[in-house]
Symmetry: C2
Subunit: 370 residues, 2 copies
């Protein structure tokens, strides 16, 4: 492994730069060494590395250890064929049976895209799955196929409803992508909570308070202390993340809360999976999360070339807007990720040294010698 | 008209209470006196009054004068048959030709529901329409037909993208509804800006400052002064409403911004309508807004009775959650509206005296004597 480390350029924040294909191969070999079949190992590695390459390290290879533990504990399973619970030419409902969430989701989105290619619309609802990485990976598959793509997932309950004091929904992401000209995309991929737990953990490590609007404590009122919050969340004493829009109703917190429940309904209520406070993961139980995918073929609506021309006009107008005082520039959803990804293709994908050391230790333990 | 006024019970805030059917008839007769055909007049009256009955007076009969002016100016047209631009068994794209937005949208959702009944999915994208009232009216039509319903609309550009200083998107609502047991619904209907312009106007009338997180001034930085903000917005000097999540990125403002653009893409990019900063209404130009409707039949996924049983369990669990310190109770999206609507069925629909006086003046002028 040392050769790879030596070849890496330094990245901001002391991170190493690993060539994208090499990092994918490395992660793929670790999954393969755990007995995951080749296609699933490759999918999972690609989707994890895509998160790092797009500037979303919270969903990237830093989580490989968690997947390794899940696989070794038998909670995340390779080689599973999902059970088809209900099917029409445009729709499928699957029980994933604890499969690898990322490879399963890639295959599900392939099915959805194929259905939409034939019939204009395709959708798939899935229960009993595992973490699927970045939701935007799947929506962008649809966008690359001249479709509007949407993806949703419920996740472990860490978010507290407006006016409540206990967690009842996850960070429940919403992803939406649509294609413009020359490969440009509008690609939104957002948690419906203000922030994810990872941001609280970073604040705690750095000894900083968290801003009002991120979380509430056991009494359901705003807290700024990340350490007590994380402990209260861990032991299920109450408190948790606030929905997008923050505490109460003054800044629209009930909207983020509503969107989070909408995601739970789309994913878990349609598939018959677990929802609300029942969704919990830990070192020994898998999340058994649920997903929902949708694709709409552009030519249902218009000539795709006209759609893409107009979307380019929209996106170009947004990024050309004059910036607010003190701000550098105006982005649209997906632009920053696209720029980061292009940089990573040139320079390699940034990986924190401690994450890299952890990957190397796992590789040694599993006898991986790529 | 005096008989009606005398029979009204007083409501909180000095409002009159008008029996729902009478208020519907009254508004319907005003539309009819303006030459709007009967079905369109009735639809429009019902949908406006539904907003007041559900506790959303910002979208109710207080706007009747605006519709009257639009109809009299020839900008909102009765008796229009929309042009079908593209059609499949599950989808339609319409040019509304400046039709009454509410009746058009009711008819479009009927078509969508019928398509979904036959094929599992139905959707309709519409350009060149007018304000359609409350988005939740249409999603609840789908929910009552054992479907998941979604509705979106772009609106006049009043919202400022993250890091920008000029308005580029509307309050662009997202509505989503799904049925539970015994007529209960989860029904989310939300602007993707933190608040709508109406809330700024109320603060200005009451001489109050607005909280940080609602709006930015001409420099793109937070403002708390509603008077200068409203003037700057009116004369297009810059500034405007903040997306859900507020200023910058600290509390997730880019998420609300992303959702608003998603709505613009779904509505205007799919239909070939106007989008972004081009969407503007005034006393003399109609908004020419675009809408998008989607319905998914529950039995695509599961036995609808099982879905509704699980959704009731979810909603009951939410409303049974212990409240935060200082809060009364936990609501889910649609619960408060349902309770308000039941109260209005018993007591009548609250109408502000000045709104009522305005309606009466219009009725007299148009010779309406219901």
């Amino acid at each position: 492994m040392s050769r790879r480390t030596e070849s890496a350029d330094p990245a901001p924040g002391g991170k190493l730069r690993i060539p994208r294909r090499k990092l994918e191969d490395f992660c793929g070999c670790i999954f393969a060494a755990l007995g995951i079949p080749p296609v699933e190992a490759e999918d999972s590695a690609k989707i994890l590395v895509a998160a790092d390459a797009r500037g979303i390290p919270s969903h990237g290879v830093a989580h490989l250890s968690r997947y390794i533990r899940g696989i070794e504990a038998g909670l995340i399973k390779g080689g599973i064929s999902p059970t088809v619970l209900r099917e029409t030419p445009i729709s499928r409902v699957l029980d994933a049976g604890g499969a690898m969430g990322m490879s399963l989701s890639r295959a599900a989105m392939d099915w959805v895209i194929d259905a939409a290619r034939k019939h204009g619309v395709g959708l798939c609802s899935i229960r009993n799955s595992n973490h699927f990485g970045i939701a935007g990976y799947y929506t962008e598959m649809a966008a690359r196929a001249d479709m509007i793509g949407m993806a949703f997932s419920n996740t472990a309950a860490l978010g507290v409803p407006t006016n409540a004091r206990n967690a009842f929904f996850g960070t429940n992401p919403i992803a939406f992508a649509a294609p413009a000209e020359n490969g440009a995309l509008f690609s939104l991929d957002m948690a419906t909570t203000t922030v994810t737990r990872g941001r609280i953990e970073i604040a705690e490590r750095e000894g900083r308070k968290i801003p009002p609007g991120w979380a509430v404590g056991v009494d359901g009122k705003v807290t700024t202390d990340p350490a007590s919050l994380l402990e209260d969340m861990l032991y299920l004493r109450g408190g948790g993340l606030l929905p997008l829009g923050g505490e109460g109703t003054a800044l629209g917190g009930y909207k983020g809360y509503g969107l989070a429940v909408m995601v739970d309904i789309l994913c878990a209520l349609t598939s018959g999976g677990i929802f609300g406070a029942a969704v919990r993961d830990s070192e020994t139980t898998s999340a058994r999360v649920c997903h929902f995918f949708l694709a709409l073929k552009l030519d249902l609506f218009r000539d795709p070339a006209e759609f893409k021309r107009d979307l380019s006009a929209l996106l170009n107008a947004l990024s050309a807007l004059p910036a607010a005082a003190g701000a550098n520039r105006v982005y649209y959803a997906g632009l920053k990720s696209r720029e980061t990804e292009a940089e990573c293709e040139r320079l390699g994908v940034p990986v924190a040294p401690e994450v890299w050391a952890d990957l190397e230790a796992n590789a040694r333990r599993l006898g991986v010698t790529v």
